[in-house]
């Protein structure tokens, strides 16, 4: 049969945003997938150069709108490094807890949308959003905003934690630990889900390393790499948690890694709640006091975001960064899409793309 070139997107129900794919198909077999990006480009790095340091977290949060707090914290950590501001001990525990809650919310949304893509398993979607909305409600009460929290300040948080935070957080992680096995019932025993994920889009260990992918995609291919372990920040070195690793690197393993990470996150939060000092001071410096000259020439901050390893390279200047450069994990994870989709069936493109967990705003910047 002749090879036909098909255009998918930029507006397509399954591309989770405005990704455009040019697909060459021979019958139903994919010969080539070529991603075209840039439909959400708005020049974040350039805009940050025109803003004072603590005006930019709002821009950073909109990079990854499924896990905004993670980028917020990464940027503020870079600024803290530039200013030489230490983070208070109580704030370190609070930040770790909020970041892990954000990871849970992000992975839950991913699970719901993936199941929805793979043959309209709408129950999973509804369950995932039910659980996610509980996490989001807690984060909203901590920060005052539902989606874009802008909760980090130099050395701490924007406001003290709510008085009943400990009880509510404990109740929430108990709830999540209780409900997560329900997803195993509905996904791991689901014939459609297994058929469409097992063995689909397998990424070998060598390819994963060579392409530079990170996060759950890398760990599903059998590489034990996590910034929280390899370069611990805050109190992660005092906490006991495992890095879930799978071997096959297919879509199913990527799902399992994220599933296990949710359970590890609740484990981390549980330890933080017991180790955090009572009535700890978590307040950071107010925004208006910020803006002295920064000390080092260059700053590099690394964090384990829910989607992989995020990195900020910054050249600080007075009042505002001279240049800021971002390593967004999904941009690099997208580069394996062409490799994974070689020779699969057309419908599997969306199963593979969904399992990579792409966020287009972070890719286009």
């Amino acid at each position: 049969m002749a090879v036909v070139r098909i255009n998918v997107g930029p507006v397509h129900p399954s591309t989770h945003g405005v990704l455009r794919l040019v697909v060459d198909v021979d019958g139903d077999t994919v010969k080539l997938v070529e991603p075209h990006i840039g439909f959400l480009h708005r020049g974040v790095e350039k805009l940050c150069e025109t803003r004072m340091y603590m005006q930019s977290p709002s821009y950073m949060e909109k990079l990854d709108y499924i896990a905004p707090l993670a980028w917020d914290e990464l940027y503020v950590a870079a600024v803290e490094q530039a200013m030489g501001v230490p983070v208070k001990e109580g704030a370190q525990y609070a930040r770790v807890m909020l970041l892990e809650f954000q990871r849970i919310a992000s992975h839950l949304l991913w699970m719901g949308t993936l199941a929805s893509d793979l043959g309209q398993m709408f129950t999973t979607f509804m369950w995932a959003f039910r659980d996610r909305s509980k996490v989001i409600k807690l984060l909203e009460d901590v920060s005052g905003s539902r989606m874009f929290y802008v909760n980090m300040r130099l050395g701490g948080l924007y406001q003290p934690l709510p008085k009943d935070f400990k009880e509510r957080a404990t109740a929430l992680i108990d709830y999540i630990d209780k409900t997560m096995p329900e997803y195993l019932e509905i996904l791991d025993k689901n014939e459609v889900f297994l058929d469409r994920t097992k063995g689909v889009g397998a990424l070998s260990r060598d390819d994963a390393i060579n392409y530079g992918v990170s996060g759950p995609v890398l760990r599903a291919s059998g590489v034990r790499e996590d910034v929280r372990k390899s370069q611990p920040y805050y109190v992660y070195d005092k906490l006991k948690f495992d890095i879930p690793v799978m071997r096959n690197g297919d879509s199913f393993d990527r799902y399992r890694v994220r599933y296990e990470e949710i359970l590890q996150s609740t484990r981390i939060i549980r330890q933080c709640l017991s180790m955090m000092p009572e009535n700890a001071d978590v307040l950071g410096a107010p925004v208006k006091l910020i803006g002295p000259a920064a000390k080092p020439d260059t700053v590099i901050a690394r964090r384990e975001l829910p989607r992989g390893e995020g990195l900020i390279y910054m050249i600080p200047d007075k009042q505002r960064p001279y240049r800021i450069s971002l390593r967004s994990p999904t941009f690099i994870n997208l580069s394996v899409l062409s490799k994974l989709c070689d020779g699969v069936k057309f419908a599997d493109i969306f199963a593979i793309m969904g399992s990579l967990d792409l966020v287009l705003a972070e890719i286009d910047r």
Partner: protein, 225 residues
């Protein structure tokens, strides 16, 4: 009772959950069909099909009762386009998910193709490279069609106001009916915006009559779509 009388009784029966009878619905349908046929007669083969249907937005030629019936019907069947651009699309998903459950108001028939939809919810910032695509989606939607600008970015450009690649508000490209402000607006806010849109379509607030035909037929010369 003869068959005719039975049929007459059926016609004057109220439709469940609707304030009009079967006969009133049938009459309104006849009048709308006439409107469409008249509109088709005035055009030639070169006129785009969408332009023929666009005449259906102008209800001034209908009888008052038929107009009410048509407006009531349009008010209560809003089919939004499944179309997310950026952050606000996540709240749009939450809008359709378990917490809000938009289905109870009849908003949740998110369709993948623009040809089945009549509400476009622009959720997210609009870049310059996205403008021709959004225009094309809007053109493909069947008349009458409505646009909701959801969020600061679609309203005015939002935080990206100074960016070199951003259109400062979707209203520079499409005629917007309702704005929902916030960054991002809560799903409840979208619920309120769609209820406002219902008021507007039903003629309960000003602004419906002036904007009877909202079309954007002409493309810019040399525009890549």
């Amino acid at each position: 009772m003869s068959d005719d009388a039975e049929a007459m009784q059926g016609l004057s029966r109220k439709v469940p959950n609707a304030p009009y009878t079967v006969e009133q619905f049938m009459n309104a349908e006849k009048e709308m069909t006439k409107l469409l046929v008249d509109s088709a007669k005035q055009t030639d083969s070169k006129t785009p099909v969408n332009a023929v249907f666009a005449k259906l937005s102008d209800l001034s030629k209908l009888t008052p009762l038929a107009k009410d019936v048509v407006q009531w019907s349009r008010t209560n069947s809003l089919w939004p386009l499944q179309f997310g651009l950026a952050c606000c699309a996540i709240e749009l998903m939450d809008f359709g998910a378990s917490r809000i459950d938009a289905e109870r108001k009849g908003y949740l028939l998110f369709r993948g193709t623009p040809r089945q939809c009549d509400v476009m919810i622009v959720a997210g910032w609009v870049t310059k490279s996205m403008v021709p695509r959004i225009k094309r989606l809007y053109e493909q939607m069947a008349s009458p069609k409505y646009v909701v600008a959801y969020g600061e970015c679609a309203t005015s450009g939002g935080p990206w106001w100074e960016s070199y690649n951003i259109v400062q508000g979707i209203d520079q490209v499409l005629p917007v009916d309702v704005y929902a402000c916030g960054c991002p607006p809560k799903p409840e806010n979208l619920f309120g915006a769609l209820m406002k849109l219902q008021d507007k379509i039903g003629g309960r607030v000003a602004g419906n009559n002036e904007r009877s035909v909202s079309e954007n037929m002409q493309r810019h010369e040399g525009e890549r779509v």
